[in-house]
Subunit: 105 residues, 2 copies
Amino acid sequence: MKSLEAVTALAALAQDSRLAIFRALVQSAPEPINPGHLSEALDIPKATLSFHLKELSNAGLISAENEGRHKLYRARLETMNTLIDYLLENCCQGTQCPQPEKPAC
Amino acid sequence: MKSLEAVTALAALAQDSRLAIFRALVQSAPEPINPGHLSEALDIPKATLSFHLKELSNAGLISAENEGRHKLYRARLETMNTLIDYLLENCCQGTQCPQPEKPAC
DNA sequence: TAAATAGTTCTATATATTTGGAACTATGAA
DNA sequence: TTCATAGTTCCAAATATATAGAACTATTTA
């Protein structure tokens, strides 16, 4: 992963509505959620939601699939795991970390 | 962890210089690095660096200690681990994830 | 076909962030 | 003391981001 990709992903997550959207998709994974449901559940106007979904898609954190007039959004957990690896790359000079190992997803 | 804390931490990391600073501190952990070294190594003017270090400190991602006229900065890995837990909380409805488990730090 | 529904794009406004020179503070060295 | 060094704070300009109404596109239902 390159720095620009990581910054893009982190910036996508660094906003209240988008963080809520992403976490909702993580929790429902691998089941998708459509914009209508997210708009209602999170109380975000649809134009605003659409903007945020695009940001998350651009960052590779979610994917979209068309199903008739609905759209299905899913969390892309691989990207999240790649990001975490990048953030903690070669942590503690490669020696034993002072933190207990934690499972990601 | 609350949404606001997570957004603050993510926003702190969502910037090129700050991401580089944080990763350098993660890699040197638990050894600290001082601003002078970071300024030179990453080629960031000291006023700009100071601004970024403050953002990372505010977010709880790094800590500072005074040593004479130097300052010692360290990564706070606990915060990073808490953030990761928050992002992936209750992933996949608590069932087996499709991703292999990855160690955080 | 016409009407309803789901989502996206367009747009202008409002808000927040990044930048780095210059001035400032505090410590250590001569 | 006086000078040098390490860092921080102040500031104003440049840049980027978030917001949501209205208009648009595409699909389903009547």
